[in-house]
Amino acid sequence: MVREILDVVAIGFLLLGSVMALAAGVGLVRFPDVISRLHAGTKPQVAGVLLIMVGGAIRLAGTPVVWMLLLGGLLQMLTVPVSAHMISRIAYRRRHVREDLLVVHEAGFAGLADLQDDPPGDQPADAPRDQGDSG
């Protein structure tokens, strides 16, 4: 009896995670620029994969791989924000932002201009000072 209930819960988690995967695809196709596509694409990378991992862990309860599944979910939670942050930062610098769609532009360009000459801690060590990565 308990086993059947757990199966139903696990299958619910698995299907919910799959729905999030489909939502990620729809968002990737329909959203207008890199940053909003990133918004659509990274939420299922964390939440959808985590839901699927939890569902699989419930189904595989009792085997040693449960901890490996949860470790995979933890790794996604740690690494996806980092890579999403790096991609969105580069997208912003490459003018891949649709400024006409922005409601609030908090990273005002006037403030950033002061940092241009000495960007804090983002240049590769071997970058030429005058024409390298702009910081």
Binding site: I11, G25, R37, Q45, R59, V65, Q76, S134
Partner: protein, 109 residues
């Protein structure tokens, strides 16, 4: 149970197909990176769905490899594109974009 298999993999493959549409259409390199990373996450989800529904623990280590590969690929491509940026002549805080030759190979279709 068959219904669950069909529904789960229909949803996952729909998401994967739409991500591949974005990889195909671009228009920029970063769009493709975002879509590829999402595609890898969906593949990891598919592997985990198989492991859960079939109660097959053998494929679980693949998940860790796929998760780490997606992270490393996205970060390295982001660093690579960032290194190509030209310092902007304007003072609005954004780079001027890529050198013309790189812009053509990366974004030209």
């Amino acid at each position: 149970m068959t219904v669950v298999w069909v529904v789960a993999y229909t949803l996952l493959s729909g998401g994967a197909a739409l991500s591949m549409v974005r990889v195909w259409r671009g228009p920029s390199l970063l769009d493709r990176v975002v879509a590829t990373e999402t595609l890898l996450a969906i593949i990891a989800g598919g592997i985990a769905v198989y492991a859960g529904l079939a109660r097959d623990p053998a494929v679980v280590p693949v998940l860790l490899v796929v998760a780490l590969l997606g992270f490393l690929g996205a970060v390295s491509v982001a660093r690579y594109v960032g290194g190509m940026l030209i310092k902007s002549g304007t003072d609005d805080g954004r780079a001027a974009g890529l050198p013309p030759a790189a812009e053509q190979t990366v974004e030209g279709r």
